[in-house]
Symmetry: C2
Subunit: 332 residues, 2 copies
Amino acid sequence: MKHGANIYKYAKAANCAPHELIDFSSNINCYVQEPTLPLSHALVSKYADSSYRALKKVIAKNYALKSSQIALYNGATAAIFSLLEMLKQKKVFLYAPLYGEYQKACEGKKDLYIIDRIHNIDEEPLEKSIVVFVNPSTPEGTHYDLEELFATWMRQKCTIIIDESFLEFENLPSFREKINSYKKLYIVHSFTKFYACAGVRIGAIFSSKKNITKLQTPLWNLSSLDVAFLQERLEDTQFKEKSRALHRAQKEELLSILEHSELFEEVVESSTNFILVRAKNAGELFTYLLQNRLLVRQCGSFDFLTDAWLRFAVKGVHEQKRLKELLENFSL
Amino acid sequence: MKHGANIYKYAKAANCAPHELIDFSSNINCYVQEPTLPLSHALVSKYADSSYRALKKVIAKNYALKSSQIALYNGATAAIFSLLEMLKQKKVFLYAPLYGEYQKACEGKKDLYIIDRIHNIDEEPLEKSIVVFVNPSTPEGTHYDLEELFATWMRQKCTIIIDESFLEFENLPSFREKINSYKKLYIVHSFTKFYACAGVRIGAIFSSKKNITKLQTPLWNLSSLDVAFLQERLEDTQFKEKSRALHRAQKEELLSILEHSELFEEVVESSTNFILVRAKNAGELFTYLLQNRLLVRQCGSFDFLTDAWLRFAVKGVHEQKRLKELLENFSL
């Protein structure tokens, strides 16, 4: 499965520069806050503290963890690849659909099994396998109550990976604290989405101190600029509050646009910052929107879905107004 | 071998903050130029072009390469680990002393052989093995004429890794262009040293297009801030000229300080921005300097050297003045 965010390719198709494309395919927080951090010679030129203590301290505080329970990587993708390489277990059960990185990280190294969580969520993984669950899920944005599944996984002695990268938009309950009671649990956390920083490459794994020690993150794998930026942003409580307020308002608006349009047969309830719909003329609609420099996510590359499904990220006032206009003017 | 740059640990020993330590252990260009790049929301929030085309174009221009001959990693360390993992050959010959990353990248995965390049450089590596040579070398800063060795390696059908991370201070001849004629050659290049950006995590491998394709760098492994910074700096010809002018003057000054001091039995000729010396009372001198908040590199962790050897990086006017004072006032 390909990642959806290649706006550079789509901008070419739309015959415009990448920044001219309104990108509803990318699930980045729509709240705009200019970074205040100054780029200085001192920051750029020095070797960072290779264990990134100060940043870990802020993350620990934000997520009610200990610094020793955090491993940092240059992006969640790097975290996923490292984690799956470190884990000895051969059998991996992916609850699909989910994004493609997990599958890619397993290719040629693990025996891969796919569980269709939409139609057959009760299918049991094999004993002592690795299970991967993204919660809230993508591309639907469903927040699953995982208690029952978790009990099954524990009974099966599974190594459990829960990816909570889309959790923060609506402050949903996390499985983080369970790393204290179940020793084979790993939480993957991307800071990119909620903290509006896809260009900043920092992702985390949360697990027991013992597991984190085993992970042995590479030396100096993070940019000092990224570290300084994320530290500042995590400390900014205003950013979180304002983001969530804007998210609530804009999601309500997007939902209303999609539900009032007659172009969609189904609009899926979401607990995060994107909404999945089934469109009547998805192919034509996608092309029409792209020709008008508005990119949405076609979901045919997700397991168990087709290109009839489109995913819209929650965006700002201006972008959603443009979407509304375009949908109203669409005719076959 | 440990990396030398943990100023955080030494600052603690010197009872001061890391920024209060004058760091002669770290081989970073001493020319100070404040970055002019503004940190913007647009830069931070968007996914970068995952193939980093614009940066590769600038690198290609600077180093007389094609973009297709460049693989980019979040630091030279990541490049070294990836390269050694990709290469199937089991036997690795390291020309030592060299920094520790190569050995670490081989541990548990390769059969490691050490060639003492100071006393026994003519020892031949086994057929079809991997050879690693850092040129200019560290910790001495010797620039080797590698033509003869290269011929031996080719005859032995070796896979050749030449690390040219310290080459740019004195504009020395590179082996880069040979990637066009010998298909098993990889050049490792760190931008950290000459471009004065240890906090910016970008390193490169230069090789044939075919080899670069095989390397398959991870998706979005670079920080957009780092990319923007390095792009700006590589385009800045003034930075290079001013750096080299300052380097020449300061290196001459450092050499004079070290040669005129009676504390050293040997001062090694260097072709880059650090100078290796053998000190009469190295342990005491190291401790005395550290107590005075000046850190130098003890070389006992390098193969075939002891802590009698100290390495001094070329630093700015103020720092070298302080070094001179401290050396003059040292008494046992």
